[in-house]
Symmetry: C2
Subunit: 345 residues, 2 copies
């Protein structure tokens, strides 16, 4: 295998997982664990908490040794706490996981090896401490070369309104139709679900497009990579991430994700949300630099804040206005089937 | 001073400089030293080489102790060699510089502290080893807030065709007209010339726009920041850097830099150079997100490969076609004055 092949292989996480729930008492802090059960149930062997934990992700409970015997190869820190640090009360359980033969995977800001007990136990047991917020070493500069296979990228009118969920739902639908497809993760929760990927927002800018290029490598001509988008071309803080990901992904098809109840960019009150048409137009104009055939497959609306009637009305209005399939992947149904149809058309 | 104030202060390099020429025998490897003498002569006290050096930047020669006595506060590695490393033959001279009270500034890929002799001598003397390819710590996420003062950004049809030179020439012309203006450097040579700045291509993508925001902070209403551009929105490897810099710089005026003899993107043969009009249009469309009043001040042509008649003909044709001032800052003259006029209009 050449250096690039090894780099791409190096994006893969050890699986299946034991989900670590810490001493969590509020379900809201266990979103990562719930996301994994929702989207990667087959790669989750069991869950495990320390005394005081009252939250469950609905999996059987096993201690690290039992989970390892049942096939688990890594313990995933599936909860966050305020501050994003690892409390002292978790450490003996995590050391026990290393001793049981599991690697530790964390998406927290705090780096695992900064905790002396974990660094010592990992060295002693030969196990790995994996920080998925850290990009792999050796990412190349982008080269713009057209790769084989088909690619879909989710883009957005803003951050945090359904790009990961939409990509996961489209990937699931593609697979259900018998297509060869991979979900390509670009953020930490997506990386845990996929079992690999690149945290695109943590890559040095000069290498952003190059990272996107290795995220979706050459594939069979009828294979689909469904790539999780990041940020928005219209977000004044994060557009660099979005453009590097767009250029390097060279998508054939993109789906615009939007929340019809959001009027301003998240955390940036002076900035109105762009219109969906603006996002379509700008994505085509910039995206055709690396893929002249880029087209919009449709729109994914996050209507969780609306009741069914209101959601249907918004989707119908947008469908009429844009002349494109519009669906909420969470609601699914014929509207979502039509979106999938058009992406594959 | 608040944390952000300290961060901005922290971008400043110790000056004036002693230029270190190593054992260089080819002028081509001393481009950084020549650039400093061209653009920051008043901040260069002297030059210094080790035995075998045959190149001169035209400054008086002083050893580190004499240069320190003459006011120098840092020795700048003003030469590169193939491979970008620091050869053994340079080390005793650099240690002597630390002992003479000078900090060492390097724009090479190799980090200074990775050389044990330098790390030891710096610790012993209390002097600093400054790697200008390393961005400062603590860069914030962009916030998109409109800042006071006026800003000009140079943009390009590609990399390496005159964005730094154009920004320096415009800054010099603004100052000659009595305006308050700063040159804001975004790459390593520019940072040495300016005595500070941020290596924008080395910033983590999530912070790219935030870095550009602190690079040109709030200023007096009639003050101009003339910001060195990076890459090109049309370069499939580096557009992320360009867009983050554009959004964060929120320029009032931009100047498009172009080489009329270049037909394809540097190192990317499959990619034609964009037309100047495309760059103008895209820069306005993306730039107005953070500054709705953004406008094109004109075009800077790098005509170094053309004789005077051919250069004049190309500039006249572009002027007619685009309806904008077109000049080569190296050739200067009334055409460049007209470009400056229009930037300030």
């Amino acid at each position: 295998m050449n250096a690039m092949g090894r780099l791409v292989e190096g994006l893969a996480l050890p699986q299946p997982y034991l989900l670590f729930l810490g001493d969590t008492t509020e379900a809201g802090y266990a979103k990562t664990a719930f996301g994994l059960v929702d989207w990667a149930r087959d790669r989750c062997v069991a869950e495990f908490g320390v005394p005081g934990c009252t939250v469950s992700a609905g999996l059987p409970t096993m201690d690290p040794a039992a989970a390892h015997a049942a096939g688990a190869r890594a313990i995933v820190i599936g909860v966050a706490n305020q501050g994003g640090f690892i409390p002292v009360s978790w450490i003996s359980a995590l050391v026990a996981a290393l001793e049981a033969g599991l690697d530790i995977i964390s998406g927290m800001h705090a780096r695992l090896e900064a905790i002396p007990e974990l660094a010592e136990a990992a060295a002693r047991t030969g196990r790995r401490l994996i920080n998925i917020r850290t990009p792999p070493a050796g990412i190349p500069i982008g080269n713009g070369r057209k790769r084989s296979g088909k690619r879909l990228l989710t883009v957005g009118t803003d951050c945090a309104l359904g790009k990961k969920y939409t990509a996961l739902a489209l990937h699931r639908a593609f697979v259900a139709r018998g297509l060869a497809a991979d979900f390509r993760a670009s953020g930490q929760t997506g990386i845990l679900i996929a079992g690999g990927g690149i945290p695109m927002d943590a890559v040095v800018s000069d290498f952003e497009a190059g990272a996107a290029e290795i995220l979706s490598p050459d594939a069979a001509p009828d294979h689909w990579d469904v790539i999780e988008g990041q940020g928005s071309l219209f977000n004044p803080a994060y557009a660099a991430v979005s453009l590097g990901l767009l250029h390097g992904s060279q998508p054939d098809v993109f789906v615009v994700c939007h929340d019809p109840t959001r009027t301003h960019m998240l955390g940036l009150d002076g900035y109105a949300l762009p219109a969906i048409e603006e996002v379509i137009d700008m994505t085509i104009r910039l995206g055709r630099r690396t893929n002249p055939a880029i087209r919009c497959g449709g729109v994914s609306l996050n209507t969780v804040a609306l009741n069914e009637g209101a959601a249907e009305a918004v989707m119908a209005a947008e469908r009429l206005r844009l002349g494109l399939p519009v669906a909420d992947p969470i609601r699914g149904g014929p509207a979502f089937d039509a979106l999938v149809d058009n992406c594959l058309a």
